[in-house]
């Protein structure tokens, strides 16, 4: 499997058809996904029909974009008209989307082929994809390990080279952490650059849809295709987006901050990330040791805000209109509680209950309001830091992919693994994870670059510059 950009060039040159490419992906999925379980479902016939339509456009000289005919896998919380949308939950096991998410409409306008529904933690709640109600995804590098989460299916599908690129969503690291665990590139855009319309809401003030791929260029190309304003999402920022792909070669020496609070996890990862920093220094960048002292408050603040928003957002799954309905319901109240008790998994229940508690009378000020103030504190510290530096470089995760079952019974331990990724969501900043080598066990390690709000193109260009001199091979399987 090649990169999306390479396929794009071959399609343009006429040496490859979209049908051949999509068929090759389907063959890979059939050969590998019995072991990896990156996909919850896929519709081969529909994908090939999209490919044929792309080939017809191209033959008529009417290709829509460089992505025309290139297959993209979609996380199962993003609506594609006529396709299943389960969020890996029994609550939506039989749901079929009646409309396209805006990111999907944008991909259709670009001519991309929408191929398959990727596994995830139920309603995007988790860091290992073990919370899927249907299947556990394996890490292609070591099938006994988790792929990360919640976009674990998207990351594993790309890492196992079943598709060139995929969409995920990132509420607290759900694109970057699985990208890191699976040795691929994952990007969370600035909050508001990508529409959330049609992406099932978990924590609306924190999450963004974003791209995963094996190269920064692929990720930039996919980001450019999905980013847009949107009349259906009032939090999607107005106006045109700066295109990132044409600016990939524009990286210039700058000041890079290394916040001490993000280091101190796995020593091997710290060393790999410091080596990346030294490479930037060798390219003329100035490295600046900085401090973001309130980052250790990010996890509790994040889990209060995210669960509070989840308790509100997930109230819509009520057994009435389009979800699982309990057969034991006898009245208009227990239809809710029985349907939700039956169909939500353990982590989703835990988070809804936590969110309900922190919002409930008598506790609102102590938890939710206080967490929002801590969020302001963290955002202010980033603002101050970005007066001193242009980019911030950190590990993506304090550890590499852990064994399946390793943390699933200890929710707090699972939450603490998100320490390096949640600050970008709280502050709304663009952040990318890309590979920076493998450890002694042969597992990939990820480095994260955060940028100023709306400087998505700068973040991508910086990662691209490093990648050009440090190409990283994903093994397939």
């Amino acid at each position: 499997m090649k990169t999306a950009l390479e396929y794009s060039k071959e399609l343009a040159a006429g040496t490859l058809t979209s049908r051949q490419l999509v068929q090759a992906c389907l063959d890979e999925i059939r050969a590998k996904d019995g072991e990896i379980h990156a996909f919850l479902s896929y519709d081969a016939e529909d994908a090939l029909a999209q490919a044929d339509a792309s080939d017809a456009r191209r033959a008529a000289g009417k290709a829509l974009s460089p992505l025309d005919g290139v297959p993209v896998a979609i996380k199962d919380n993003i609506a594609v008209n006529g396709q299943p949308l389960t969020c890996a939950s029994k609550m939506l096991e039989h749901f079929v989307s009646p409309y396209d998410a805006t990111v999907i409409a944008n991909l259709r306008k670009a001519g991309a082929v929408l191929l398959g529904r990727c596994n995830m933690d139920e309603f995007a709640m988790g860091s290992s994809t073990e919370n899927s109600a249907f299947v556990k995804t394996a890490n292609p590098w070591n099938k006994d390990c988790v792929p990360g989460g919640s976009s674990g299916g998207s990351a594993a599908a790309v890492a196992a080279r079943m598709v060139p690129i995929a969409l995920g969503s990132d509420t607290g690291g759900s694109i970057r952490q699985p990208a890191s665990f699976c040795g691929v590139v994952g990007f969370k855009p600035t909050y508001g650059c990508v529409s959330r319309y049609g992406a099932v809401a978990f924590a609306s003030s924190l999450e963004q849809v974003g791209p995963l791929g094996t190269t920064v260029a692929d990720v930039a190309m996919l980001y450019d295709a999905i980013a847009s304003e949107d009349v259906h999402d009032s939090t999607a920022l107005p106006g045109a987006r700066e295109k990132a792909f044409p600016q990939l070669e524009n990286f210039k020496p700058c000041r890079i901050g290394l916040p001490k609070e993000f280091f101190g996890g796995d020593a091997k990862i710290d060393a790999a990330v410091r080596a990346v920093a030294e490479w930037y220094k060798s390219r003329g960048c100035e490295l600046v040791e900085i401090s973001l002292p309130s980052v250790d408050l990010a996890i509790p603040a994040y889990y209060i805000i995210a669960t509070a928003e989840a308790s509100s957002n997930l109230a819509r799954f009520d057994g009435i209109r389009y979800t699982h309905r309990s057969a034991d319901a006898t009245d208009a109240v227990n239809i809710y509680s029985k349907s939700r008790g039956e169909a939500f998994g353990e982590e989703v229940k835990r988070r809804i209950l936590l969110g309900t508690y922190v919002l409930s009378a008598g506790f609102y000020d102590a938890y939710y309001k206080r967490a929002q103030k801590i969020r302001a504190l963290i955002r202010n510290e980033f603002e101050a830091a970005f007066k001193e530096v242009d980019l911030i470089l950190t590990p993506t995760t304090p550890e590499t992919a852990f064994p399946k079952g390793g943390k699933i019974s200890d929710p707090l331990k699972m939450y603490l693994g998100d320490i390096c990724t949640v600050p970008a969501n709280l502050a709304g900043l663009p952040a990318i994870s890309f590979p920076c080598g493998t450890n002694d066990e042969g597992m990939p390690m990820g480095v994260q670059i955060l940028g100023k709000a709306l400087k998505d193109a700068d973040v991508l260009a910086a990662a691209h510059a490093y990648e050009q001199s440090h190409p990283f091979e994903t093994p397939g399987i």
Binding site: P98, P300, R321, E346, L353, Q372, L426
Partner: protein
Amino acid sequence: MSDLKIDLDHVAALARIELSAEEKVKFSGDFQTILGFFEKLGAVDVSRLEPCAHAFPVYNVLREDVPAETLPIEALEKNAPAFRDGQIVVPRIVDDNA
């Protein structure tokens, strides 16, 4: 904060989630740990901070008030757990004798 008193039944009722006996035991233990961890925020002086609901707040976002396509009833019928005569069937909420 090792002795948090949480009325899990009350929270579950507010959240409209029926819990099994096993879940109640499990979640009670989890909440002690997790809410205990949240207490870390209590030590921070937040008196000079304003709550931040969104990283980049936007206000009064309006769009043109023009008619647009809505979903056809057939699309909704497909996903409804119970459907009859163009309507979603729900449990009776008004007593015949009321």
